[in-house]
Symmetry: D2
Subunit: 352 residues, 4 copies
């Protein structure tokens, strides 16, 4: 979209989110190549099988169950339903995606989201430990929803990351209380490729009872890979997926995409691009004297803008308005993606 700013005709720029482009070209190529093949439906095709094997290998869990679903809310509500018993709820940060922006999908499935105070989007192990300790000391706890699972997002909705030791601590607390640990990896690639992180897919597979590797925001047209490292306990998951309307008829489209993403480390390489361009973007803002709201190592950068400046910028570039900072300033989010180019970032930094 062309815009005209005081006589300068320029392209309007968009940094509002990481799901604004289609898919990595090699994915589109494979979808085109195989278009007139006749494939078995519902994920029972050879591409899905191949993709599952590659994901099991990347996670170091040869016995894992892997299912491909279409989107994040769908994956969360399906997995959480499958893993909880009727009296149980799921613990989440009050800013967690399931707590706020999934339109009550978890509750529609019959389960309460038990919210905990968050720390830049994270549930700190100490906060979880304290909550569970108090819960089990409460004489009225049998009249309350039972904690059955902990939901975390990694990266979080604030672009922050857990460390390996934090994940292990959360796992230890969950095991002590015999509750499941579930990780929402809508943007997992961007977390795995962040500078300085010590979290890997095998570590996640070792800590979590279920997690998903996000495709929609990381190079796929759509799709999320749900991984159940130790599947013995989960009953009839294929049917639960179907019941949630989450079983794609042309399942090979998901298989093809994840097979491509997990060939030659494509998933990791394109994730690294988002992290790199986001870092450049952040450094540029800093250089121009802008204040950073939360320092993150992933593809989401939270900048504090003067309100007047924000309105001016909004004519040339889109971003997400996050929250009020003070009377005169607002926190906004700029997100890069697997497809963001250096040139786009350079053009953005010119106009700020």
């Amino acid at each position: 979209m062309k815009i005209n700013i005081k006589g300068n005709v320029m392209e309007f720029m968009r940094f509002d989110s990481d799901y604004m482009e289609g898919a990595h070209p090699s994915i589109l190529a494979r979808i085109s190549e195989t278009n007139f093949e006749k494939n078995t439906g519902y994920g029972l095709d050879r591409y899905s099988e191949s993709a599952k094997e590659k994901i099991r290998a990347a996670c170091g869990v040869p016995g894992a169950d892997v299912y491909f679903l279409v989107g994040g809310t769908q994956t969360n509500s399906t997995a959480i339903s499958a893993l909880l018993s009727p009296a149980e709820g799921v613990i989440a940060a009050e800013t967690g995606h399931i707590s706020v922006h999934e339109a009550g999908a978890i509750e529609a499935g019959g389960h309460k989201v038990l919210t905990l105070p968050q720390s830049f989007g994270k549930i700190l192990p100490a906060v979880l430990r304290d909550y569970l300790k108090k819960f089990y000391a409460d004489g009225t706890r049998n009249h309350m929803v039972q904690p059955g699972m902990v939901y975390i997002s990694h990266p979080t909705e604030y672009g922050t990351l857990y460390s390996a030791s934090e994940l292990q601590e959360l796992r230890d607390i969950c095991r002590k209380y015999e509750i499941a640990l579930y990780l929402d990896g809508a943007r997992l690639g961007y977390g795995l490729m962040a500078d300085g992180t010590d979290v890997t897919l095998p570590l996640i597979a070792g800590c979590c009872d279920a997690f998903y590797i996000g495709g929609t925001k990381v190079g796929a047209l759509f799709g999320e890979a749900l991984v159940i490292p130790r599947p013995e306990k989960v009953k009839h998951l294929f049917t639960v997926i179907k019941q949630h309307g989450a079983l794609l008829a042309k399942g090979w489209l998901l298989g093809l995409q994840f097979d491509t993403l997990f060939t030659d480390r494509l998933y990791f390489k394109i994730s690294a691009n988002a992290v790199r361009t986001a870092k450049k973007l952040e450094e540029g803002f800093k250089l121009h004297g802008y204040k950073i709201f939360i320092g993150t190592d992933t593809n989401q950068k939270f900048i504090i803008l003067e309100n007047e400046k924000m309105r001016e910028l909004a004519k040339m570039v889109s971003f997400s308005v996050w929250e009020q900072f003070d009377d005169k300033h607002t926190v906004v989010r700029f997100a890069t993606s697997w497809a963001t180019t250096d040139e786009e970032v350079a053009r953005l930094l010119e106009i700020i």
Copy 2:
């Protein structure tokens, strides 16, 4: 896939279903062309808007709400939940897709499927009228699930079609009892292009409170267009769709597909191809002396095979085993699609 039958190397043929290929090439082309555009998510993009306008025009209901969802089970469970109140259930043929093959999605949403005897997949108006008359005469009816909606599929799971007057009769019964009429159009194109049908999109829009135009089985990669002709009564449908995990982040992918299908009548043209090739196939079977189980005018043909013959054929071609006919015969289904070629049908007829 090549197979070797007694020295003849030939391509294995597949007629098991109509969702075995990808998408019409013009759809793939548009997805590729627009791949690096940055689009607004969740169906709020210009392609979705354009597609909605074209569908409203094709249905003759300018005030309709149109939403694009990903798959059939998802669309059914979302629409049915949105339209029913808690004590209400949905009436369906005992062979209806929601009665059998949606893994209890309707019940998972809290509503009973009230099954009626079917006639080749259809609910006959007389059967519905009789059921409702008996229900309202039953002194214990307040202890029973209240009929709140009638679900029909068109074409049905048996490839059969309602006539315009049957649809109007169902509508009249529903209006008398103040219950909704919902039409599952997973294969709607194949019904609209059937020989001799008098059912059109405007007629459907005039009779039904909600229906969907199937894309997954009719030329799209995936996608169904849910149409609510008179949307005043349905609360918060966007949010209900999100709650059901049925809101695609990259909604423009759905918009692009339906915009393409409803440009230059592509949806109707490619549907006609399936109907035409299916007719050829059926005629070929008849010519070779095979018995037809149910005569249909759509893309699904139900043939009675001797069991021995069936096993032999299965080495060279795939089809769906439908039901036992008698001790020695089985009913099988051959389905063509928008992508079936005359050559494929000719090859099939050679081997039978």
Copy 3:
């Protein structure tokens, strides 16, 4: 209620159901005696504890969990929810109470009722075996609700009874397929005291994964005792009961009632009264030349009445109209209860 039939003033008689009177006087007495005691709520009182012990002893399962709930629909929906996983449904006879007259309570909890053809209210073992065999042979079964439990009522809605060997056969089938067996004992006392039955509480406890001993229809003001013979597998049942609104605040009222019913075999003695008076009633009808629709050994008797006779009788006595027999006859049900007197039956037999 006095009525005047051709100058004769007489008491109108009621045989429509077995829940029309209050409670056995010894229950009312104990409720009065303890009225100003201050008891702990929610079933954690000493009367409930005592009643549980007596029920465990009567069933021969010292390790069983026993909970007291208020009514039958509530108990069914709570127990079934607690025992099923999300993709599972419950198999029931098409005439089962949960299939017809519980207003979709099971579906409201997310689970489908999978109906089987019935034989005078019963699921015959052969019918169940055949259904399960076909289900597991069906290639599309993963798209269908998984059978997770068999629901039977004993006595059934038709007053009929399973034999011990039928119950054992059902149990064996359930165990083979690893699904639960649940028995709805709303009228259990009347079954246990039927002439010629070989079914006992310990036999039921040995066959079923859960069952309830009905109080509402058998001498209590209200209340059902849910028994889980092997409780290890059921998570958080107390909380599930609370979640279903089925946890009575003044739980001791339930404890007191069941403690009374299971002291000195009161439950069995008063049940025997209903069976005995019903037998007398049936014999009287036979003697007067009436035809019996289904022969039962319990407190429900199904008589075929000429329509004209039915209308005439209805002026003097109430009964339940069950179903049309033919153009000129109707099946009606007369039910006796723990409170029915010989005098009432004698008066009924006078007027027929």
Copy 4:
């Protein structure tokens, strides 16, 4: 229960809650008197009809629907389900009974509880107004649960009361946003008879779309009267009640109780007793130098006890431990009831 404190044999006293006794003797008398009458079930009897009429008159809403249910959690989850559409949730104080102590009953019915900060158990109109204003200004609100109802308890869980003008203000806000107002009156009698309140039944009926008059805690054995002042909008409520397992078979037991309570203002008279004895109790504590945590005008009194004193008292009297006040003090609750005697209060004040 007798206890021996340093050689003094005394009766152990209980002030933990208001549901520890049975029922007002005149209720027990009527249940006994009518025990062998044969009544129609499910609330269709003459006692229920009479009680409904008396309640309609007391509330000043002749057109209201009145239903009798068994308990509070049951009534809340049934009414809330019946009034909300699928995408809607219910706003409640974070201390509301449905938020904490109903085991996720609302979520099990598919709806989120949207918690707001509380002020001694109340939702202040300003807090509600602010929340709704922000919600409707939020660009992502379509991805969030829609506020469909406000739940308040009166008296609250902290024994506090809304004023008439606060209720009217809440009503005005709800009407502006077209959401329902629901009042949980588990202890309503104690609120209506509080000193200085200006809230009456007709005022509540004029402000609320649904509310219930609590019986379980106010003189009945069990039972709550759900009132829907303008019933036109609520579909199939009888069936929804049955679906929730909340339809008592022997519904006349509820009718009899409420008929008794609403004859000669018994409900109000016995409520006044609880308020009066509670006031005496509070004054006694004050006189002995104890600090009051929250001043209330109802039957729940919140006292701050030194921890050592609390442990000592607990040997002689039971109360509810509410929350920690500081390292050395705890907040405890003493509750009186319709049955509390002056003598009990006097004995309590002797030992403190």
